[in-house]
Subunit: 169 residues, 2 copies
DNA sequence: TGACCAATATTGGTGGCGCCAACATAGCAG
DNA sequence: CTGCTATGTTGGCGCCACCAATATTGGTCA
């Protein structure tokens, strides 16, 4: 019994440890995945906000694709990054406004835009890489090196389930 | 050189296998997590749509919390499920309209609403459980039983990093 | 007691991200 | 030439996380 409060028992709900997750939910893989995702996106949002000049995940993915594959059409960028064509358009417009990419019509295929990474874009990508690296280590902080490798391996299997199917066939 | 096209080499981009993820991105934990999340949410959305009567993740979490802890205030529901208070309000309104929960003012604490799971709500929860179970097995399909246990353990560690911190201290 | 502060429920709004539909245009295949 | 497909763009939707402001209520404390 606690001090100085006679009516304690009419409190049907105030278990000291509500705030836990319901049992039905807390061990479900989809729940754990969503929690891990929530945690990583929170860190990403913070990192992008404080060191990302207002850029976000879309922008990083596009810059990375351009750095790796060189000048690319928007449609191919979308396929390479898993970003919808329409969202590619919007993100590229923002990147172009910042001078991080260059966009012009492909003279040989006039319906295409050829998107090119500018030097400033490459710089931005390198900066973001640093930010992202820090975030990765923060996310994986609770794990040992061996556990990290394991997790990445396992995640790759379930994350790439459809794509592997596409690739293999 | 391919046939019938002299100007082929000004085509820097048409690798036959674009559609992969940039190397800079594809092994990052946050990326893999987001892919796993995308996969699981796609399955969840499909499952909820075809067998969920239009309910979504929020609703399931709330029903599960109510089933486990009994009548609960909205604020506590929010804390228990990680759903923002404002979103709790909206989701409960929908659940109430379907007769799955009952919401009335706590006579002892008039600023609180006591939310109660109705029998229909318990039924809906059980139905959703079945749907969710199927989705879990679909998500984990590429893994062996041992790998599944491992993945869940590792995810729990990184997913619960903050909460554990809260609990431990 | 009265003044002040904290918690609650609600309303309304933001933003990221994934996705889809419609459209005009351009290239390709028959 | 006639479809059919690919491309880029615009506009919209839905889910989820989050935040701000407000009215109400409870509890605290000087």
């Amino acid at each position: 019994m606690r001090p100085t409060m006679g009516t304690l028992d009419r409190m049907p709900v105030h278990h000291d440890r509500i705030g836990r997750t319901p049992d039905r939910v807390k061990d479900r893989p989809t729940w754990l995945i969503s929690r891990a995702y929530a945690r990583s996106t929170a860190l990403l949002a913070e990192g992008f906000e404080t060191h990302g000049d207002g850029l976000r995940g879309h922008h990083y993915r596009l810059l990375a694709a351009l750095e790796q594959w060189g000048p690319t059409s928007q449609a191919d960028l979308g396929r390479a990054t898993g970003i919808d064509r329409s969202d590619v358009t919007g993100a590229l417009t923002e990147l172009e406004a910042r001078g991080l990419v260059d966009r012009k019509v492909d003279p040989a295929h006039k319906r295409r835009n050829v998107v090119t990474l500018t030097p400033a874009g490459a710089d931005a990508l390198r900066r973001l890489d640093g930010v992202l690296d820090d975030i990765q280590t923060a996310v994986l902080a609770p794990l040992t090196a061996a556990q990290r490798r394991q997790l990445l391996d396992l995640l790759a299997r379930i994350a790439g389930a459809d794509r592997d199917a596409d690739v293999i066939e």
